[in-house]
């Protein structure tokens, strides 16, 4: 085989690989990109039912109700609007009323059915999306509780 042909072989292999990867990426992107939404977005009907989203905000005070078999109902608020959340499972260690939370799931008939509630490593850490959501709702008082990300997730 000539030098040129050998090169072509590898270029062809690389091309095929890239084509496969691109196909995989494009199909996977469609299915696995999850948009971040706030309670206000949901209240203003900017979220369709059955669309997978991440919901972020604060866990409303006095809203957490434990049910049978690890079922938990609570409300997530961005201080302007509030959305009820239904979740079955054990909540992350740092889940608390009045604290920031990010839940992933689908909106079904006005109730957010979460299948995942995300944990953070530090109780003072506020997910930036949540801070943003509260800011957008115009309720931010500037007393950001140590949101420098390195203090929370530093050790990873």
């Amino acid at each position: 085989m000539k030098r040129k042909h050998k090169r072509l072989t590898f270029v062809a292999i690389a091309g095929v690989l890239i084509a496969i990867a691109a196909t995989l990426i494009l199909t996977a992107f469609d299915e696995s990109i999850v948009f971040f939404r706030t309670p206000t977005d949901i209240t203003e009907k900017r979220v369709e039912d059955d669309q997978r989203i991440r919901l972020g905000g604060l866990v409303e005070e006095d809203s957490v109700e434990q049910g049978e078999d690890g079922v938990v109902n609570f409300r997530v608020t961005d201080t302007a609007n509030t959305v009820p959340v239904h979740f079955q499972g054990i909540l992350p260690d740092l889940f608390r009323e009045g604290q920031g939370v990010v839940a992933e799931g689908k909106l079904i008939k006005g109730v957010f059915m979460a299948d995942e509630v995300l944990a953070k490593h530090d109780e003072n850490y506020m997910p930036p999306e949540v801070a943003e959501a509260i800011k957008e709702a115009g309720q931010w008082h500037g007393d950001e509780p140590d949101s420098s990300p390195d203090s929370g997730e530093a050790s990873q």
Binding site: A21, S32, F36, Q66, D93, S151
Partner: protein, 677 residues
């Protein structure tokens, strides 16, 4: 002296700060003089490289020591000690607190850069003087970037006046041995690739790459790769037992940031072999070295700067973010420009056919870099979309699984064949024929899993079959190499003894991956979980085991209150183990942690978690997991890291090795290529 700080500890931090500044100036000398000297072929200037590298190492080590001391004695007048430590912390976590924060970890980073530089200065006697001078000069340039970053944006020696009485850092989740050593391991890996990078840039400046260069680059890459492997495994293990979800890999951006350089580092490891042994693929290897270190930098900074969670984290500290971006652009842009300019001058003498050992290594490289690009894309896409105001998104595990796993299947298929092929040209059909045993093993394991293990997903089955293929294929290659059953056993044993450590490294590394793949497939495919409220006496059946809840008790630990559950696990009526998961609540931070009870068996992990009480009748929310084969994953990772260590100790990498080059070359002939010929 500042009033109110008049104790003996006052001076230590200032000394550390001073040593840090001094180290930067020494690094400037270490960069400027040797690099200029090498360009002008001026011997005495080049000779500056070694002493300055050692002095720089001593200074930065002293500085780091000062900071560690401040953490050990809980000197809360230092801002980062106040923020990240507490006088009630055990000593181990006081010390690990030194690098468990942004500023301290950057100091650790630059310390490791200097340690590697010092190692080249001390042990690099057999390097050509100009190459050594250039490597150390570039290593110093990298260090300077970090010194500036530390001093201007993240100074660990900043004081708080007046000093607070006690620290604020008592996050119990982070007080964990796995996490204490996870960052240093990762950094040893990241920074280890800086050596490959420095050698690559030095080679571009020198305008040539030879086998000796490959022999130097490979051990550094192996060491870095081994550390990175350990670091990633440690992080995953921590997430597994501490977060209490029974999960071990979440495709979290922080995890990806360390995994991407691992992928390109693996490619580099394999292409450096070709430079060393076959005098080919030089330009590509240099490119990979640049790429891997750039991705390491990107990884460090993505995690450290907080941009990963959201680009708006820049707003909290725009200085850091901008500095970071700037440094990245200089390092990556500068080195790629140099590569574009000088790279084409690299002459490859080794020619080969597409079907050959070289071809197989190249296929490895192509797949690894494609996979790295795909993971990088998924990790950066949310950042990109947010930057152009396209909305906030997260790219979840489904993306990574869909893209990554299909790429790994041909990769593993090729991994068993590659070592069977000879250098330069080989017969693929012949190699496949010699792998008949591996084909049988793959088929048998696929059928066995399909027949005996119920409800398995196809992917899990494919994964296990691939693991069998790789393991048996690797063993076939080993037995051919030692001519097992073809020659008398004694002759085979002599061949075993004569096998180079580098070959052992390859064999063990591939076996380690086979074991890890089996673990991932088992745990990914057949994991079972049950979440429920349990009364004392109730039981749950999972994975063939019966978990009986015996109730929970409340108690007190040293500085926390705890709930301890008791589970008796039986299999077919026979007792297996009694498990005691805990739920701890630390009053200082009013923060609970989950202490999962894990019992590791050969076939899988029993994993139990106790949650909150449900009512007052002794019922608790509990989570039980059966994670088949999960421990194999970490065992396999450790074998891979150990294999890199064994390969690293190969005699030809040792000091003075080039003089024994002939001897080494002859030992290499015991490889399959020579054996076949």
């Amino acid at each position: 002296m500042i009033p109110g700080l008049g104790d003996a500890t006052f001076g230590i931090a200032e000394l550390g700060h001073f040593a840090l500044i001094l180290a930067m100036f020494v690094a400037v000398a270490q960069a400027v003089l040797p690099l200029t000297g090498a360009a002008r072929n001026h011997g005495p200037w080049m000779a500056f490289a070694r002493p300055t590298a050692i002095v720089q190492l001593l200074l930065i080590a002293f500085s780091f020591g000062c900071l560690t001391y401040a953490f050990m004695i809980s000197d809360f007048s230092l801002a980062i000690v106040y923020q990240n430590s507490h006088s009630d912390k055990p000593m181990l976590y006081k010390i690990s607190g030194t690098w468990g924060n942004h500023e301290g970890s950057m100091l650790l980073w630059v310390l490791i850069v200097s340690i590697f530089g010092g190692a080249v200065a001390l042990f690099g006697s057999n390097l050509p003087p100009s190459l050594r001078a250039r490597v150390l000069g570039i290593q110093a340039l990298i260090a300077i970037g970090f010194y500036l970053f530390i001093l201007f944006t993240s100074n660990p020696f900043e004081r708080m006046i007046p000093p607070p009485l006690n620290g604020a850092g008592l996050n119990p989740l982070l007080q964990d041995p796995g996490l204490a050593f996870h960052p240093p391991m990762l950094y040893l890996g990241y920074v280890g690739f800086s050596m490959a990078f420095s050698f690559a840039i030095a080679a571009l400046l020198e305008g040539r790459v030879d086998a000796a260069w490959g022999r130097w680059v490979r051990p550094w890459t192996l060491a870095a790769w081994a550390f990175l492997t350990c670091g990633i495994a440690l992080g995953s293990w921590w997430a597994y037992y501490e977060l209490g979800w029974g999960g071990w890999w979440f495709w979290d951006p922080v995890e990806n940031a360390s995994f991407i350089p691992w992928l390109t580092g693996t490619a580099l490891l394999h292409s450096a072999t070709m430079v060393e042994k076959r005098d080919t693929m030089k330009g590509w290897t240099i490119f990979l070295a640049i790429l891997t270190f750039s991705l390491s930098l990107l990884g460090t900074f993505l995690v450290r700067s907080g941009v990963l969670t959201s680009v708006h984290a820049f707003a909290t500290d725009p200085e850091r973010g901008v500095f970071i971006l700037f440094l990245l652009i200089i390092v990556t842009g500068g080195s790629l420009a140099l590569f574009a300019w000088r790279g084409p001058a690299m002459r490859n003498t080794g020619v080969f056919q597409p079907v050959s050992r070289e071809g197989a290594l190249l296929v490895n490289n192509l797949i690894m870099t494609t996979a790295a690009a795909a993971v990088l894309l998924g990790t950066l896409y949310p950042l990109f979309l947010d930057a152009i105001d396209g909305g906030k998104v997260s790219v979840g595990p489904p993306y990574f699984n869909t893209v990554f796993i299909p790429l790994m299947i041909p990769m593993i298929a090729a991994m068993a064949v590659g070592p069977m092929l000879g250098w330069k040209r080989a017969d693929l059909g012949q190699a496949l024929k010699r792998l008949w045993l591996a084909f049988i093993a793959t088929g048998v394991s696929a059928i066995a899993i399909w027949a005996f293990v119920a409800d398995g997903p196809v992917l899990g089955m494919v994964g296990l079959a691939m693991a069998a293929w790789l393991a048996v294929g690797t063993l076939v290659e080993l037995s051919e190499r030692i001519r097992l059953f073809r020659e008398p056993l004694s002759s085979s044993l002599t061949r075993i003894a004569r096998t180079t450590r580098a070959s052992w490294g390859m064999t063990l590394g591939h076996l380690g991956l086979a074991i890890a793949v089996a673990g991932m497939s088992g745990a990914g495919g057949w994991k079972q979980e049950a979440i429920q409220t349990m009364m004392p006496g109730e039981h749950v059946d999972l994975g063939g085991y019966t978990f009986t809840f015996e109730g929970a008790t409340e108690g007190q630990g040293p500085n926390y209150a705890l709930t301890r559950g008791t589970f008796v696990v039986t299999r077919d009526g026979e007792p297996v183990v009694t498990m005691y998961p805990e739920n701890r609540r630390y009053p200082v931070r009013s923060m609970p942690t989950t202490e999962a009870a894990i019992h590791t068996l050969f076939s899988g992990d029993l994993y139990a978690v106790i949650g909150d009480p449900d009512g007052s009748d002794g019922a608790y929310v509990t989570r039980i997991y059966w994670n088949p084969l999960v421990a194999w994953m970490w065992a396999g990772s450790l074998i891979m890291a150990a294999a890199a260590g064994i390969s690293l100790s190969d005699r030809r990498f040792r000091v003075g090795a080039p003089r024994r080059r002939k001897a080494a070359a002859e030992t290499d002939k015991t490889g399959p290529a020579a054996a076949k010929a």
